[in-house]
Symmetry: C2
Subunit: 190 residues, 2 copies
């Protein structure tokens, strides 16, 4: 896995059967309260983040309400023009570029650590490009049986090393995996 | 979840993205050596097991070579007649019955503990019927991106409680979940 000057951490909450959303839904409606607290805490570690258009759509109001230049949010979309009125340069931007180009641009602008926030197609694009340095996966104790899979579409088989395990609650695990050849991304203190 | 007189433990090895087989394959070709040792060990805990026709197809020779009445193996298939020459009553049987009927029959014959061995459609049928008492999931540190999901098809959302976690190796976790209202199925000693 190539080392990027921007470290990329894929953050996701998954069901036991590897789903990130219920059938017909966007957003992890099955995430526990413990995961929601952890997720908000985890974002403080990052100076930039990338998400897909559908993920943005489900949290648009929160994103716009909280957008600031401490964490530059990039939304991947094929149709940048549509989102012109939401754009806030340096805080909330839209891009139709490939993952490598987006990270290159973030690096040139001095960003160091990027949270990859999904959905399944965005996760796939970054894994496929070999650009994921770490996975912070919350594993919820539920079987969903359908819905969006963590990796939406074919990708080369990609191996990771287990770096840390933590209980977010009695039944919810947080797992930290490191890409081969990548710099570990230690979890922030509980 | 209803209590069965036969306790059902779903045993599976999954990728980080919830797959049980590589695209176009049957059988967990990505399972680590540590998981393969664990899997063989785990089966000693059971006096019966259930698997689907495709899963049976991938391990037919081993199953036939090792079949004995200590563990009654039941293969679910729509076409029982096709498998007539492989059948060994009390050791290897074929059934087109529903999960509840299969378990009822096993209970009447004095069987107590059933390993559910997949694949994804068989797992789904048992989860759907509310007949899974525990999950013993091996989580391999790999993203596969496509292939058979753990639960193949729609099923009602089903919650479990995390009972135990264990390292099978530095990077491979074994997780034991208990169904709500079900009797726990403790892992055998390491």
């Amino acid at each position: 896995m190539p080392t990027n000057s921007v470290q990329v951490v894929l953050i996701a909450v998954i069901s036991l059967d590897g789903r990130i959303a219920r059938p017909g839904q966007s957003g992890a409606g099955f995430a526990s309260a413990a995961d929601q607290i952890w997720f908000r805490r985890s974002l403080l570690e990052f100076d930039c983040s990338v998400m897909g258009r559908r993920t943005f759509g489900t949290i648009r109001e929160q994103v716009i309400g909280r957008a600031d230049t401490k964490r530059l949010r990039v939304v991947m979309t094929r149709d940048v023009a549509t989102h012109g009125q939401d754009a806030m340069p340096g805080a909330l931007e839209f891009s139709s570029d490939e993952p490598g180009s987006i990270l290159g641009d973030l690096a040139r602008r001095g960003r160091k650590k990027c949270a990859l926030l999904g959905g399944g197609e965005v996760y796939r694009l970054f894994v496929q490009a070999g650009l994921v340095d770490a996975l912070w996966l919350t594993l919820e104790p539920v079987v969903i049986g359908a819905g969006t899979p963590l990796i939406d579409g074919a990708t080369p088989e990609t191996h990771f090393r287990l770096a840390e395990t933590r209980h977010l609650s009695k039944d919810t695990l947080l797992l930290n995996y490191t890409g081969h050849g990548a710099t570990p991304a230690p979890l922030p203190p509980a």
